[in-house]
């Protein structure tokens, strides 16, 4: 099972000190956090993509390329890549390029984006969100698998005899996760292609995602990719730890109360009860994270949100040290509970091996 972190890349004032990082400081902090993720033994670093302040990561492959050059093992990913407003041709090219530079340590997560004005800024219409996601991904999928593409669709200028370069490393496209928080159409899309489905369930109650993940697993099997249990599921998580759980609560509460996403709403205690947010001791985080498997079945990827709401870099790095300490426990506990026949998350190596097997068969 893979463990990692994802970042939204928000520039938020620290509510306890009033300090706001500059864009440069935030961008450099994101890189430092990514390097720390590898240092403490995590598997994945994923960056968001945004095109409006107060967010900085508008250019994910630039950042991931830089991180790739300074890491050895870390898988570089996104949370999410906007399949609706990016040109699928440019996604095909950017991520194939990154794949070569990073020696295959690349996958990505598709998302639609929920910021209305971003669509018209990129010449699109948010009401066409689902059709854009479906058509653009169909083209991306084809560009990575066919050397010469003739294509005509509804949302992009046609292509005749087009070859996207560079071709995917070893002829194997990066693995794709599809992220969605409410659309069965996207779970269906992920199932159709045999891709992964990532449920960032950190802001929503569990029951909602049980339906969505259940649908994805069932349709994954329907399309002949394996049993429902063999489908590739990823989950979000959000934790804040201190050795003593009351210290964690006291330290995190002002960040929670003022957080851009859920601040000034429910109490920290209610939010912890209703969503996967866990603020407490490392053992509490271990126990809570293991319950995800009981709700959603065996899954392949767990990403935590660690660096938002104005938490200072120093605190985030301390949190990553603690996460590094509990991840070996989580690995062992998840492995001990895992049903036989459940696949690992695909990596470049496993996809290359599978492709070779297909050729020899």
């Amino acid at each position: 099972m893979q463990f990692g972190i994802f970042t939204v890349g928000d520039v938020t004032t620290d509510p306890t000190t009033g300090v706001t990082p500059s864009e440069r400081e935030r961008i450099k902090a994101m890189v430092t956090i990514a390097l720390k993720a590898e240092e403490v033994g995590l598997d994945v670093f994923a960056t968001g993509e945004h095109h409006n302040p107060p967010f900085v990561p508008s250019s994910p492959t630039t950042m991931l390329g830089y991180v790739a050059a300074r890491t050895e093992r870390l898988i570089l990913s996104t949370a999410t890549t906007l399949i609706t407003t990016n040109d699928p041709v440019k996604i095909a090219e950017d991520f194939a390029m990154l794949q070569h530079l990073a020696d295959g340590r690349v996958d990505l997560m598709m998302g639609r984006g929920n910021t209305g004005p971003v669509y018209p800024w990129f010449g699109q219409d948010i009401r066409q969100g689902i059709p854009l996601a479906i058509e653009n991904y169909a083209l991306l999928h084809q560009l990575w698998r066919e050397d010469v593409v003739d294509w005509e669709g509804r949302f992009r200028t046609p292509l005749q005899g087009f070859t996207s370069t560079p071709r995917p490393l070893d002829g194997v496209p990066p693995f794709v996760w599809h992220g969605s928080i409410r659309s069965p159409e996207i779970a269906e899309q992920a199932a159709y292609y045999g891709d992964g489905f990532f449920a960032n369930h950190i802001f929503w109650p569990t029951s909602h995602f049980q339906r969505l993940i259940g649908l994805y697993r069932e349709r994954f099997a329907h399309y002949g990719h394996g049993t429902p249990e063999q489908a590739y599921v990823g989950l979000g998580g959000q934790v804040f730890m201190r050795k003593n759980s009351q210290d964690a609560v006291n330290e995190f509460r002002p960040y929670f109360d003022n957080a851009p996403v859920y601040g000034h709403g429910p109490s920290l205690e209610d939010f912890m009860a209703q969503t996967p947010l866990t603020v407490g001791s490392p053992q509490q985080v271990i126990d809570r994270t293991l319950t995800f498997r009981e709700h959603f079945g065996d899954y392949q990827r767990q990403l935590f949100l660690m660096d938002h709401a104005g938490l200072p870099l120093k605190t985030v790095l301390e949190q990553l040290d603690l996460l590094g300490e509990i991840v070996p426990v989580l690995r062992a506990e998840f492995a001990a509970r895992r049903a036989p026949g459940v696949a690992d998350a695909p990596t470049h190596e496993s996809l290359v091996a599978a492709a070779q097997e297909k050729v020899t068969a």
Binding site: A138, R154, Q189
Partner: protein, 193 residues
């Protein structure tokens, strides 16, 4: 059949709730209904939290589901500042945009003076029209002085009868939404626009 009564009255006892209950009784007199009352006062904090977080706490989630699954709805609000109360509007702001499509709805309101009665026609009726609900022709307004008149009872019976009639003709369709298979989604895009 399921009849859900949403009451946005704030005082206890509330004249809005009293009116809503009388309307529910009038419906029950003409159709076999199971009545559930949703008191928005009890959900006020959860409603505000949902607006902030984007998801409902369990009790509110249950109320929203009950409204969505109802065969008929009575929606009653006090008139504040020439329109429905903010709490009433906030609750309906949280309803899925298609949850009331085709649903029979009876609208009702209370106020201190009869001068506000047309708020039902210029505020509540258009809101439910936007949500594609089927609003019965008789809307019931009760000003303080109406509680002493027989005319209110007549309006209550007429409106209740209209809602019962619509519910009997048009019970809610329940069950999971049909999933459109992926090939069909893709093919729909490949057809000429």
């Amino acid at each position: 059949m399921k009849l859900v009564v949403v009451s946005a009255g704030l005082t206890q006892p509330s004249s809005t709730r009293l009116l809503a209950d009388r309307l529910a009784t009038a419906v029950a007199a003409q159709a076999d209904v199971e009545v559930r009352v949703v008191e928005l006062r009890e959900l006020a904090v959860d409603i505000a939290n949902h607006l902030v977080t984007g998801f409902p706490a369990p009790v509110l989630g249950d109320a929203l589901r009950a409204v969505a699954e109802a065969d008929g709805l009575i929606a009653a609000t006090p008139i504040f500042t020439a329109s429905y109360s903010g709490l009433f509007k906030s609750f309906f702001d949280l309803i899925d945009f298609d949850a009331l499509t085709g649903k029979p709805v009876l609208i009702a309101a209370t106020g201190g003076t009869a001068r506000h009665s047309l708020a039902l026609e210029h505020a509540l009726r258009p809101m439910f029209a936007y949500l594609h609900a089927v609003v019965v022709p008789t809307a019931v307004y009760a000003a303080s002085e109406d509680w002493a008149s027989g005319e209110l009872a007549q309006r209550v019976d007429r409106a209740g009868g209209e809602l019962a009639d619509l519910m009997l003709r048009n019970p809610a369709k329940r069950g999971e939404e049909e999933l459109v298979p992926f090939e069909e989604q893709l093919a729909a895009l490949r057809g000429k626009p």
